[in-house]
Symmetry: C2
Subunit: 503 residues, 2 copies
């Protein structure tokens, strides 16, 4: 295919995409296929000679679409949203064509520089503390990661590196190996499974902090403080005598004898907007504790973060001033297509120091140590942010967030008006957790019926042992009528289920 | 922007992309900007009200293009290639519009299933051993990662998990914590810096195996064997008595007393086609050693892997039958745009077991344990493979590889015909390592002149202490005339440099 044919096929693809998105609500949102469905629809091997483009395009409807879960259908209420906007798609087309890999400044200066400035733009929209803005002289700043999972891992590793440095500075005789296995990280029992996985990857212990329904599934300062104290009491560091210069990470262990296993509390991942119920950890309480104990506080606001561009939701981020790093996903709720997970750190050097590698083939005349940072894995992702921020403007983005929250409130009202149902967690943003009053079984059956109907799609969560349905406003094109239609379907299926099962 | 406007703007963008790629060789390949150039060209904050699309598009030339390193210019000879083809761009447009995140089968079955089948297609093109093909009943199979760096890390972590399991099985009394810090991984001193970084992340020691110019910078079986023996002699595992059932990972340590630090050799990353000189480790020698010692052998063929679809280059992959995992980047040299790094494992369960997490919000009716595996970070990347494999056919892809190798051979001939220059490493595929006979200084100066000229772009490497220029055939549109023009420029600048500097 040459450029001339691409002009033709590209324009056809633009129409195909517009047609797909304009008519998406006609499609069953959740596919009716069995595992393994696709293999028999296509050959077992790649062709020797080229197929025609017409055949490839025909196979989109024949092979692909029957197996697609349509995340951008206004009837998709599962997981959390993934962004999809026309300006972001245009930017992605351009990014793919430029096709530079931004693994150093010289590999494509525009890529690195636009990313740094877009992270400042977004940081200012969120009213982040000045420390997190790169500007021309700042120590902090932002970098785009692929996912919040990656950002959590990067934060945990940077914190690990900082903790090891601190411990060796206080106790230079100590062998470096083995310190990692003494490190303990904390996160909510409501945190995303990727937080636990980050701990596994880094080889540190991850302790889950229990949360309570009565506390709205948020981690309380008091609970974290108690866990740290318990770990202090149990955790005794060998070879160590406390002095006034001893680093806080080590102090608590000084006056006792060695009795393995010992622990060093070093990292806390707070969640703003948990996956199960969109709960918010109390970072104004948690932050000072972490700061006093020299524990790295990372804030994961993967979903909720986008809402902080609205003044009325910005208080949810209060406490950010205590954080070492902060991350959320514009690719969830800020109209920037996947992938674009934005991460800020107070000190760029903490990140760069933890990962720095500089072989000769990456050296160049403008080697900057500490001015920029990079991931191995970046096309020109900042172009999407630039297109979206400019084509919507801050007001347009705020309107978009507010509309989703209003739709969630509308759904909440419908649930509350029906005595058979209950709301299972505060509705703060675009997620409504609800259930039929009654057994888990009846709710599991209801969800199964809903998804088997394929008209709307939801996923469950578990809260205090209860099976709960999550209704997340996801698509850009969801309107009030879709919400009302979804509720009509849910109540109709609930009626059926309640008649069949003892309630 | 609504769908109607997207139809118009999307088509304009298709033309903009075609124009960019058709005329790319008119642009200076390497940008003439200083760090920080971009910030002053755009506002300090995002606009409150939307900008016009016309203004955004105008800024592509004003703000972005002056800072772009044009990776797809036929005058780009730096690093290794990154792929860019029209069929892949069309597939990416579609993938962005569908915009599903494939983190489980139910999240979009087509996404998962096409990926598994495309990995089989590609595995068959490479004539991988049957063990690596998923089929309908295989134990092995492939998964797409973002980069070779990610794939190396995933392999190293899966191996770590397997090693810990093996050790605990042989010695159930041993505490699990702390085992990691005893593990030792090996790679060539020519391996990519990301291999070392993977070791840092996983918290294992990474030992670099020295290579020699006389061995063409390849790791020899004998060298690996000797290093393992030395580590065995020095590495003494406490609390352990050898029996006939003892796992080989532990055996060597059984009969001596505890004397820390001790080591367990567990992972070897072989490279086929190193970044500096495209050297090939001797995996037919190395594989049996790893198998006997129960060391996980991962093969990183990031660049060279694409060439193995040609029968004449497939012998370079001989020894794959000893590997536990294998990875290369179709996004480098197989016309599938970034990101698409393909990784196969002999046992899917090794990967799934190392990372499995299953919260309720990811459960679904077709929960498959072990049939598929996922990354958190995947749009519909297999669509690109499908479009490219079908639009080129295997023969078209082979032709493409062969053309690049021929162009490299043509450049090699030009260098060899000039007595002032020397070839620094065997030219096997599309990379030519060469230098002026003489000091490092004269070669550094030559490279600086070349890049400052901005007509062609190269990066250096170091081989046996010598500063060497790397000439990698990269762009899809590079032709013989570009190679000859590049050589004309290089010799002209060499002339200047040699006149100025004592030779």
């Amino acid at each position: 295919m040459d450029a001339a044919e691409f002009r033709r096929r590209g324009k056809e693809m633009v129409d195909l995409i517009a047609d797909y998105l304009e008519n998406i609500e006609q499609r069953p949102v959740y596919p009716d296929v069995e595992p393994g469905y696709l293999r028999s629809l296509i050959p077992e091997e790649a062709p020797e000679e080229p197929d025609t483009y017409e055949d490839v395009v025909k196979d989109i409807e024949r092979v692909i679409m029957p197996g697609v879960t349509h995340w951008h259908s206004p009837y998709f209420y599962a997981y959390f949203p993934t962004a999809n906007s026309f300006p972001a798609m245009l930017a992605d087309m351009l990014s793919g064509a430029i096709g530079c890999i931004g693994f150093s400044w010289a590999a494509s200066p525009a890529c690195t520089e636009l990313e740094t400035v877009m992270m400042d733009w977004l940081g200012k929209m969120l009213k982040l503390p000045e420390d997190f803005i790169a500007g021309t002289h700042g120590q902090g700043g932002g970098v785009i990661q692929g996912t919040a999972s990656e950002a959590t891992l990067v934060a945990l590793l940077a914190a690990r590196s900082r903790a090891v440095r601190m411990i060796l500075a206080s106790d230079p005789q100590r062998p470096e190996t083995g310190i990692t296995s003494k490190l303990v990280a904390y996160s909510s029992d409501q945190a995303h499974c990727s937080v636990e996985r980050a701990g596994m990857i880094a080889g540190v212990r991850m302790k889950k902090i229990p949360t309570e329904q009565s506390d709205k599934y948020a981690v309380q300062g008091e609970t974290l403080r108690r866990m740290i104290q318990e770990d202090k009491a149990a955790g005794l560091i060998p070879f160590y005598v406390r002095t006034e210069h001893t680093h806080p990470l080590l102090q608590y262990s000084g006056l006792r004898k060695y009795s393995p296993p010992w622990h060093i509390s070093y990292f806390f991942c707070a969640t703003l907007g948990t996956t199960p119920s969109c709960a918010f950890d109390h970072i104004t309480e948690l932050g000072p504790i972490c700061n006093a104990e020299k524990i790295w506080m990372h804030i994961d606001a993967a979903y909720a973060g986008s809402s902080f561009i609205c003044p009325e939701f910005r208080p949810l981020l209060n406490g950010i001033e205590f954080a070492d790093s902060f991350n959320f996903n514009p690719h969830k709720w800020l109209l920037v297509n996947f992938d674009c997970s934005t991460m800020w750190v107070r000190k760029r050097s903490d990140l760069i120091g933890a990962f720095k590698m500089d072989p000769l083939y990456l050296k160049h005349d403008h080697q900057e140590s500490g001015r920029y940072f990079y991931t191995d894995n970046s096309l020109f992702r900042s172009l999407k942010m630039w297109f979206v921020f400019r084509m919507y403007g801050l007001k347009g983005l705020q309107d978009y967030i507010r509309k989703h929250v209003e739709l969630a409130k509308e759904f909440e009202s419908l649930v509350r008006a029906d005595q058979r149902f209950e709301i299972s967690a505060d509705v703060v943003l675009g997620l409504v957790c609800f259930r039929l009053k009654g057994s888990n079984e009846v709710n599991e059956t209801l969800l199964k019926r809903i998804n088997n109907g394929r008209k709307i799609h939801l996923v469950p969560c578990q809260l205090s042992g209860q099976f709960v349905l999550r209704f997340a406003v996801c698509a850009r094109t969801t309107e009030s009528r879709h919400i009302r239609e979804a509720w009509r379907l849910i109540t109709q299926l609930a009626e059926e289920v309640m008649q069949e099962l003892p309630h």
